[in-house]
Symmetry: C2
Subunit: 332 residues, 2 copies
C-alpha cells in the first residue's frame, strides 16, 4: 500500500477526537515496523494527555513487547519510552498528520522522541507553521531521518482547519440530530451514544448558542449530565425577545453565564462555539459558522423534515452502533 493509505488511517483516527483535543489540534499517527507492518494507529485524545506520536510509539512498543509495563500517568510515558524502547523501533516509519512538535510544552517534543527511538522515516501531512511548534522536521532531518512532506495535505489541512480557525479567533459549528429523512425536531431523534458525544463536545466548547424558539419549545437543560464531572457551557440564547420562563432547566445550571441577545457579534468573544438547533438556526446561521456536525439516527421518521438551501462538503463519518455522525464543511 502507498503512503496515502497509511496517512488516511492516521487522519481517520484523529478525526474521532476532533474538538475533544481542544485547545490542542486533532493529530493522528501511524507507525510501521522496519518491514512495513502496521504496529499502531493512534491519535491525540485530550489536551494535557500524550501527543499522537507518543501514543503511537507506546502502542507500537506494547505490540512488540507485551511485558513492558507503562506508567499510568501520561506525562511519564515519554521518559519511560526514552529509557525502555530498547531499539525495538529501530528503522521503523511514522506517518503524522501534522509536523511533529519541537518545543517543550506540557510534554517534551515529539520530534525528539521519534529521533531517540531510531525511526528511519517520517511522513508528514501538514507542515506546522506555528512559531511554537515548527522546526520538528528540521530536527529530524538533522538526525539524518528521511522526511517526506505533503502526503494527503488537503485532508490533513481539513483535519487541522477547525484548530487554525480557533487560533485566528473563532471556530463555530452547528450540531444537528437528524433522522435519515431530515427530521430534526419533535422529540428525541438520536441514541444515547450520540447524546453522550454531544455532552463531551459541550464540555469542551466555550459557548453553546441556541435559538430562542428551541428554548421555549424544548425547555432544555443543555448540560453535560451524561458524562462524569462535565463542565457545563455558557449559553447564548439567540433571540430578540428577552423574556424567558426562568424555570426552564438551562437557567438553573450552576456556574453558567446565560446571555440573551440577537447581537451575533457577541458570540465572537468566545473562541469555540457550538450552535444547537433546527430549521430556524440553519437558515439564519452567521457566516462565521463554518462546519456542520450531523448525528444521524438510522430510521425514517414520520415528521416534518428540516428545510434549507445549503451546500456542504463531507469530511468524516463515524459509526456508533445504530447511529452515526458526519462532519461537514459549509461551502461558501
Amino acid at each position: 500500500m502507498n503512503d496515502d493509505f497509511y496517512m488516511n488511517l492516521a487522519i481517520n483516527e484523529a478525526w474521532k477526537y476532533q474538538i475533544l483535543t481542544y485547545p490542542n489540534p486533532a493529530v493522528g499517527c501511524v507507525i510501521l515496523d522496519k518491514n512495513g507492518k502496521i504496529l499502531s494507529i493512534e491519535a491525540h485524545k485530550q489536551a494535557g494527555k500524550a501527543h499522537a506520536e507518543v501514543n503511537a510509539v507506546k502502542k507500537a512498543l506494547q505490540v512488540l513487547n507485551p511485558n513492558l509495563i507503562f506508567p499510568k500517568e501520561d506525562d511519564k510515558i515519554y521518559e519511560f519510552i526514552i529509557k525502555h524502547h530498547n531499539n525495538l523501533l529501530k528503522n521503523s516509519k511514522a506517518y503524522v498528520t501534522l509536523e511533529p512538535c519541537s518545543h517543550y510544552g506540557k510534554t517534551p517534543p515529539c520530534a525528539n522522541l521519534l529521533k531517540e527511538i531510531g525511526i528511519s522515516e517520517v511522513v508528514i501531512g501538514y507542515e506546522d507553521k506555528s512559531d511554537l511548534a515548527k522546526g520538528g522536521a528540521n530536527l529530524l532531518k538533522e538526525a539524518n531521518i528521511n522526511v517526506k512532506f505533503g502526503i494527503l495535505k488537503d485532508r490533513c489541512f481539513e483535519l487541522l482547519e477547525p484548530f487554525l480557525m480557533w487560533q485566528r479567533g473563532n471556530f463555530s459549528f452547528l450540531k444537528l440530530g437528524m433522522s435519515i429523512n431530515g427530521v430534526v425536531s419533535g422529540g428525541i431523534i438520536t441514541n444515547l451514544d450520540s447524546r453522550k458525544m454531544v455532552h463531551k463536545l459541550r464540555e469542551k466548547i466555550d459557548l453553546l448558542v441556541i435559538g430562542g424558539n428551541t428554548v421555549r419549545v424544548d425547555r432544555p437543560t443543555l448540560d453535560t449530565r451524561l458524562i462524569n464531572n462535565g463542565k457545563n457551557p455558557d449559553i447564548f440564547i439567540y433571540s430578540k425577545k428577552q423574556n424567558f420562563d426562568k424555570s426552564i432547566p438551562l437557567f438553573g445550571v450552576e456556574n453558567r453565564k446565560v446571555t440573551i441577545s440577537n447581537d451575533i457579534k457577541l458570540i465572537k468573544n468566545y473562541k469555540l462555539c457550538m450552535f444547537e438547533g433546527g430549521e430556524n438556526l440553519l437558515n439564519n446561521l452567521p457566516n462565521f459558522v463554518s462546519h456542520i456536525l450531523i448525528f444521524s439516527s438510522t430510521s425514517f421518521m414520520n415528521r416534518k423534515a428540516i428545510n434549507a438551501d445549503v451546500k456542504i462538503q463531507k469530511l468524516f463519518s463515524f459509526d456508533m452502533k445504530d447511529n452515526f455522525y458526519i462532519w461537514y464543511k459549509i461551502k461558501s
Copy 2:
C-alpha cells in the same frame, strides 16, 4: 493490528462491488507478506472475471516484482500465477470474507491457488455452505495451511446476505436518491457519479420496479445510457391503473419487457430486483424488499422531504466526490 482490522479492509473493498458481481457473491481478500505488511486489498468485481483471491495474489506479486507482466485476459491470470509466483508469497497470509472456492467453475479453485503459492495461513470470515464451492478450507488444511474461521463473521454474513437471498429465490432492494435533509423528488438530486452507479446496477438486475405515479410525473427512460453497452432492465410498473402515455421514454427502449400490474407476486418471478421511487414506494414496500441503497447529495434542499416510519441498519458507506451512498438493511 488484529485479524478484525485486516478482515474489515477485505469486507469494505468487497462492498464496493455489491450487486455488480452478480450472479456471483461479493468477496474481498487481503494479503499480508510473511512479515505482516499489507501487499494487497482486492475484491471480486464482476462475474466471469477473476475471483477476489486471484486479484489479491496478482496485486501482491505486482508489488513484490513490478517487472512481472500479467496477461490481460482474466482467465489466464490463474495459470500465470502458478507458473511465475517464484515463491515470492511463501509464508504470506490471506484474509478472505468467504471460504475460498474448491471447484473448477469458470475459473480454477482459489483454495488450490493459495496452496500453490505457499501461503501459510488463511483467515476466513464466512464458511461457504454451497455444495459447489465448499471444501476450500479442507483442501487448505490438508496442505498443512493454518485455517482460521469466523473472524468478523457477522459483517461477512451481511456482505454475503444479498447473494444468499438471491440464491434462495429473490433479492430485492429499494434505491433512493436523497438530499441531506430527505428530499427525494422534484428534480435531479444526485451527481453524475451516483447516476452512473445506478446505471451499472440497472445493468445487473433482472427487473426494475417503479411506482406508477413516478412514471407519470417524471416520464423516465430507466435505461443504462450513462455506461457503455449497458443492458436495459425489464420494467415493472407498480400500479392499479393500466393506462400510461406510451410516449413516456421507458416504453421506447429496445429489448425490454414492460409489465404494468399491482400484483406484487409477479415480481418474485425475477431473482434480482431494484425498486426505484419515492415516498409512495417506501411506504408500500412488499415485505420481501430487504435492503435500501441511498445515494446522498451533500446539500440541504428547499423542498418537501420523504415521509415514512421505517427502521434500518447501516451496512456500508462509500464516498464519491461530493456524493456518497449507504447500504442499509430494513429492520423487521
